[in-house]
C-alpha cells in the first residue's frame, strides 16, 4: 500500500523565514519601531515637563534679561517642532547635547557612567538569581517544613527592606563596626584612581592593565553594593523560584519521573529546566528595573553611575541629562526585552504562539 497526497492539495513550501529566524526578525522589527517611539517619547516627556530650567541655570543673581538670554542660548524659546527636528538631527550624529550644569557632552557623561552602573547591576542580578533561585528551590523542595519556613522568612524580610536602607545598615555594620568591607567611597579606594579606560568596567580594565591590586580593590568595593542589591532582589527571585519550581515538582511529569524510579536529583533538575523561562524572564525584568532604579543605592555608595547622575539631573531640571537617561535606559530596556523574547522563544518554542 502506498500513501498518496490528497488530490488538489499541494504541499506547502515555506515562503517566509520560519522558526527561530522568523522570531528574531519579528522582534528586531518591533525593536526598531519601539526605539523610534522611545526617541519621540523622551523628547516629549522632557519638553512638556513644567518648570523653567533657564531660571535655575541663571541662578539667584540673574536678571530677567539674563534668563531670557539663557533661554535663547539653550534654544528653549524655539517652537516644539523645531526643537524636535534639532533633537533628531543631533541624535543622528550622536549628539545628545550638553549638560546645562556640568557643560559636558551627554554622550561623554553616559560613556563615563553607564559602565559603572552596568558592572554593578549585572553582578547584582547574577548574585540575586543564584542566591534567590537556590533559596526558592530549597523552599519548594521542603515545602511546609522548616527550611521552607526559614527561606520564606528571609524572603519576606529582604523584600520589605528598601534597598538603600539595607545599604546604609550594611555600611554601618560591615564597614564601620566590623571593618571587613571597604569604605563607601565609590568604585575604588579613597586614595586610588580607576584603571585606564578600555571598557569602563573596572574589573575588566584592571585585569587588562595587569593591576591585580586594583582588581582586588574594585572587587572589594563592589562587595557591599552588590550584596545590597543582590539580597533585596534575591528575595524576589526566591519567591518566584519557590512557586515555579514547586509547581514543577508537583507536576504530572515529575510524578511520572518519580514513578519510573528516576533518582530525585534528576527530578529536581527537570523541575529547574521547566521553570527556567520564568526565571530568565524575571532576571531581564529586574535588570531593566535596576537601570536607574538603583539611583539611591548609587548615591549611598558614592557610585558614580548613571542612576545617581540622572537623579541629580532630575532635581536640577537638567533637560539634556534627563532626556539622555530616558533614551539610554529605554533603549537598553528595549534591547534586553527583545533579547529576552528571543531567548525565551528559543528555550520554549510554545511561547512564540502565545
Amino acid at each position: 500500500m502506498t500513501l498518496s497526497t490528497t488530490p488538489g492539495v499541494k504541499a506547502k513550501t515555506p515562503t517566509k523565514a520560519s522558526g527561530p529566524i522568523r522570531l528574531v526578525l519579528a522582534r528586531l522589527g518591533f525593536l526598531v519601531a519601539a526605539l523610534f517611539g522611545l526617541v519621540t517619547l523622551s523628547f516629549l516627556l522632557v519638553s512638556v515637563t513644567p518648570g523653567d530650567p533657564a531660571e535655575l541655570i541663571a541662578g539667584p543673581m540673574a536678571t530677567s534679561e539674563q534668563v531670557d538670554g539663557i533661554r535663547a542660548e539653550l534654544g528653549l524659546d524655539e517652537p516644539l517642532g523645531t526643537r524636535y527636528v534639532d533633537y533628531l538631527k543631533g541624535l543622528a550624529t550622536g549628539d545628545l547635547g550638553e549638560s546645562y550644569y556640568s557643560k559636558r557632552p551627554i554622550t561623554e557623561e553616559i560613556g563615563d557612567k553607564l559602565p559603572a552602573t552596568l558592572e554593578l547591576i549585572l553582578l547584582s542580578v547574577v548574585f540575586a538569581a543564584v542566591v534567590g533561585v537556590a533559596v526558592g528551590a530549597v523552599g519548594a523542595y521542603f515545602r511546609g517544613r522548616w527550611p521552607d519556613k526559614v527561606s520564606r522568612l528571609a524572603t519576606g524580610i529582604f523584600q520589605a527592606i528598601p534597598d538603600f536602607f539595607l545599604g546604609l545598615i550594611l555600611i554601618y555594620f560591615v564597614f564601620f563596626i566590623l571593618g571587613i568591607a571597604p569604605a563607601p567611597s565609590g568604585r575604588v579606594g579613597i586614595a586610588e584612581s580607576g584603571p585606564d579606560k578600555v571598557t569602563g568596567f573596572y574589573l575588566i580594565d584592571s585585569l587588562i592593565s595587569g593591576n591585580m591590586s586594583l582588581f582586588a580593590s574594585a572587587a572589594s568595593h563592589l562587595f557591599l553594593p552588590v550584596l545590597t542589591l543582590g539580597l533585596v532582589y534575591a528575595a524576589y527571585f526566591a519567591k518566584t523560584a519557590r512557586s515555579t519550581i514547586g509547581k514543577a515538582l508537583n507536576s504530572q511529569q515529575a510524578q511520572f519521573a518519580r514513578a519510573m524510579g528516576l533518582p530525585e536529583r534528576t527530578v529536581v533538575r527537570y523541575a529547574f529546566v521547566e521553570s527556567r523561562t520564568t526565571i530568565v524572564t524575571y532576571a531581564g525584568v529586574i535588570f531593566a528595573s535596576l537601570l536607574g532604579g538603583e539611583a539611591i543605592v548609587e548615591r549611598v555608595f558614592a557610585w558614580n553611575g548613571i542612576g545617581a547622575w540622572s537623579l541629580q539631573g532630575i532635581t536640577k531640571l537638567d533637560l539634556p541629562v534627563v532626556q539622555g537617561m530616558v533614551l539610554i535606559a529605554g533603549a537598553i530596556t528595549l534591547i534586553v526585552y527583545t533579547v529576552l523574547d528571543i531567548v525565551v522563544g528559543l528555550l520554549d518554542p510554545r511561547i512564540k504562539h502565545a
Binding site: 560591615v174 571587613i180 563607601p184
Partner: protein, 537 residues
C-alpha cells in the same frame, strides 16, 4: 543536561569567589589621617565637573580653584575670629605687593610682585592681569563680570590698564566698599596667559576647553587630574610665590550621601567632610577620630512672607508673626544648638552691635494681631523644599506652625518635592510664604541689604519695594567704608526693622566634620577651605 548543570554551578562558584575575594580584600584602603601624612583627603557632597573659573558650575568649582589661583589681594586669614567673618576691608597683598589709590577712590594702582611663577615656570606680568580681566569681561554673564565686578562699580570699559610690566591700574566708575575684597575672591585669581594662549583656538579664544580640565594659575597647588564630578587630585605648585603650605597633596572625592561621609570621617578614612548632616554632628564629636568645626558665616535660614499678599504685607501683621516665632527652640531642636537664633537685620557676624529686628513675645504678638484687625486670626500656607534650607525644612515648618497657632494663625504646610518647581515659584513670587536661605558673596551690610531687599535686585524674592530704602542702599554701593556710609547703613537697617521684609530664623555657621588632628580651617567669605592655612597637629 549535565553540562548545563555544570554551567550553573560555574556561575555560582564565580559569584561566590567574587564575594570571598571582596571580603578578603575589604580593608585595603589607606587610612588618610595617619600621623605625618601630608595628603589632605576630603569627601565633598559635590565635586566640580570642571575647573574653568570662568564657567560657574556650582560653589565647589570656586572651592577647587581657590587652591590653584592667587589673586591680586588675598583674604587676611589672621583676622578670622570665633564670632565674625573676615570683613571686606580685611585683605592683604597677594600677587600685588602694594597699591596706591587716588583721592576719590576710583583708581587703584597696583605694584605687582616680581618673580612670581606659575606651575609652568612662566613669570607673571601685567599682561597676565590684563588678559585675565579681558577673559572675565568676555562673557557678560560670568560671575566675575556680572556678580562681582558690576556691583563693585568696576569700569567695564577699562577695568585694568597696564602702566608697565609690573604695574597696573584698576578703575572704578564710583567708589565701592567691596572693590578690593572682590579681588580676593578665588575665581578672580590671575591666570598664566602665556600657557593659556598655547591652548586657544578660533572657536575657543580663551582656552576654556583646556582650562576645564587643567590649572594655569599662580596659586599654591596645581591640578594633577580631574574625573568630572568624581575626583580631584592636586599637588604643590613647585614655583609657589608664598610660604609652602603644609599639605603637599590634596585629594577630593565625591561622596554625595551625608551619612556615608560621616562614617568615612569617623573611620579615619578622610580628613574633612563637607556638609556633615546635622543629625550626625553629635556622633562625629563623640568619636575620638573626628571633630566638628563650627565657623562663623553669613548664611541665614529665613522665613519669607510675601509682601504682595493683602494680609501678610501689613507691617503690624508681619511684626506679630515674626514676634511669635520661638527661634531658641528651632535652634536647639532642629539644629541641635549648632545654629544661633537670628535676631538682627543683617548677619551678626558681618556687623556687630545691631539693634534686634524683633523680640520674641507671643503675648504682645497676639495683641498686635488683634489691633491690626485679626482678632479671629488668619490662615496662610508655607511652602517648603528639602533642598533649601535642607532635609529638616519640614521640622522648622512644624515648629512655626505650632508657634503661630498660639496667636490664632493657622499655617498649612505645603511640601514642593521638585527643587526646580520650588525655585521657580519663589522667583515668580507666587508663594504666600516659604522657608529659604541667603548668603551674600561679600560680607558687607550695604551690599547684603541691596542684594536681598532692594526692589531693583533680582534676589529680592519677597517683593519688598520701598523707594526711600532703594535710594539708601544705592548710596551705600557708591561709597567706600567710612562714617558717611555707616550712617546711611544705619538708616537702612532701621527701615528693615520698620518693614520686616525677611524673617531670619537662624544664623547657620560654616560647619565641617574634620579629623581630630586637622587644624587651621577657618571660615572664608567665599566659602570653601583655606588650604594654605591648614595643617595636621
Amino acid at each position: 543536561m549535565a553540562s548545563r548543570v555544570s554551567r550553573q554551578l560555574g556561575v555560582a562558584s564565580a559569584a561566590a569567589a567574587l564575594v570571598v575575594l571582596a571580603a578578603c580584600s575589604g580593608s585595603s584602603d589607606n587610612k588618610s589621617s595617619a600621623g605625618g601624612n601630608t595628603t589632605l583627603t576630603m569627601a565633598w557632597a559635590n565635586v566640580p565637573t570642571q575647573v574653568d573659573p570662568g564657567v560657574y558650575t556650582g560653589n565647589t568649582m570656586v572651592y577647587a580653584t581657590d587652591a590653584t589661583l592667587s589673586g591680586l589681594l588675598e583674604y587676611d586669614y589672621s583676622k578670622a575670629t570665633e564670632d565674625t567673618v573676615i570683613g571686606t576691608d580685611q585683605v592683604v597683598p597677594g600677587l600685588a605687593e602694594s597699591f596706591e589709590v587716588n583721592d576719590d577712590r576710583t583708581e587703584f594702582t597696583f605694584k605687582l610682585r616680581q618673580g612670581v611663577k606659575s606651575q609652568y615656570g612662566n613669570e607673571m606680568t601685567a599682561d597676565d592681569v590684563l588678559w585675565t580681566f579681558e577673559r572675565f569681561l568676555s562673557n557678560a554673564k560670568s560671575i566675575q563680570a556680572n556678580s562681582l565686578m558690576a556691583p563693585a562699580n568696576v569700569d567695564p570699559a577699562k577695568a585694568v590698564e597696564k602702566v608697565d610690566d609690573y604695574t597696573i591700574r584698576y578703575n572704578l566708575t564710583a567708589p565701592s566698599s567691596i572693590s578690593l575684597s572682590i579681588l580676593a575672591y578665588p575665581i578672580m585669581g590671575i591666570l598664566d596667559s602665556t600657557e593659556l594662549k598655547k591652548h586657544v583656538t578660533d572657536a575657543d579664544p580663551y582656552a576654556g576647553e583646556w582650562l576645564a580640565k587643567n590649572s594655569a594659575g599662580f596659586g599654591p597647588y596645581q591640578l594633577d587630574s580631574i574625573v568630572p564630578g568624581e575626583e580631584l587630585k592636586l599637588s604643590l605648585n613647585p614655583n609657589y610665590w608664598d610660604k609652602k603650605p603644609y599639605f603637599e597633596n590634596i585629594l577630593v572625592k565625591n561622596v554625595p550621601n551625608g551619612a556615608s561621609r560621616a562614617q568615612l570621617l569617623m573611620a579615619g578614612e578622610v580628613d574633612l567632610i563637607s556638609e556633615p548632616p546635622i543629625d550626625q554632628l553629635k556622633k562625629i564629636e563623640s568619636s575620638d577620630k573626628s571633630a566638628v568645626n563650627v565657623q562663623p558665616d553669613t548664611n541665614r535660614h529665613n522665613f519669607n512672607l510675601s509682601m504682595k499678599d493683602p494680609d501678610l504685607k501689613k507691617p503690624e501683621v508681619r511684626k506679630a508673626i515674626n514676634m511669635a516665632i520661638d527661634r531658641e527652640t528651632i535652634s536647639k531642636s532642629v539644629y541641635q544648638g549648632y545654629a544661633k537664633p537670628a535676631w538682627t537685620p543683617v548677619p551678626s557676624g558681618m556687623l556687630a552691635d545691631q539693634d534686634p529686628m524683633i523680640e520674641y513675645n507671643p503675648d504682645e504678638a497676639k495683641k498686635l494681631l488683634a489691633d491690626a484687625g485679626y482678632a479671629d486670626g488668619l490662615d496662610f500656607e508655607v511652602a517648603i523644599s528639602s533642598e533649601r534650607p535642607g532635609p529638616y525644612a519640614e521640622n522648622i515648618a512644624r515648629l512655626i506652625q505650632s508657634d503661630l497657632k498660639k496667636i490664632g494663625v493657622t499655617v498649612t504646610i505645603k511640601n514642593i518635592p521638585s527643587p526646580a518647581d520650588f525655585e521657580e515659584a519663589v522667583t515668580a513670587q507666587s508663594l504666600q510664604s516659604y522657608l529659604y536661605t541667603d548668603r551674600p558673596s561679600q560680607p558687607d551690610p550695604g551690599f547684603s541689604m541691596y542684594l536681598y531687599n532692594a526692589s531693583t535686585s533680582a534676589l529680592n524674592k519677597v517683593g519688598f519695594a520701598n523707594k526711600e530704602f532703594d535710594a539708601l542702599v544705592a548710596q551705600t554701593l557708591k561709597l567706600d567704608q567710612g562714617e558717611e556710609r555707616d550712617a546711611i547703613v544705619s538708616d537702612a537697617l532701621q527701615m528693615l526693622r520698620d518693614n520686616q521684609p525677611i524673617f531670619s530664623l537662624v544664623e547657620m555657621p560654616d560647619i565641617s566634620g574634620e579629623a581630630a588632628d586637622l587644624q587651621g580651617r577657618i571660615s572664608v567669605p567665599s566659602g570653601g577651605y583655606p588650604y594654605v592655612n591648614m595643617s595636621r597637629g
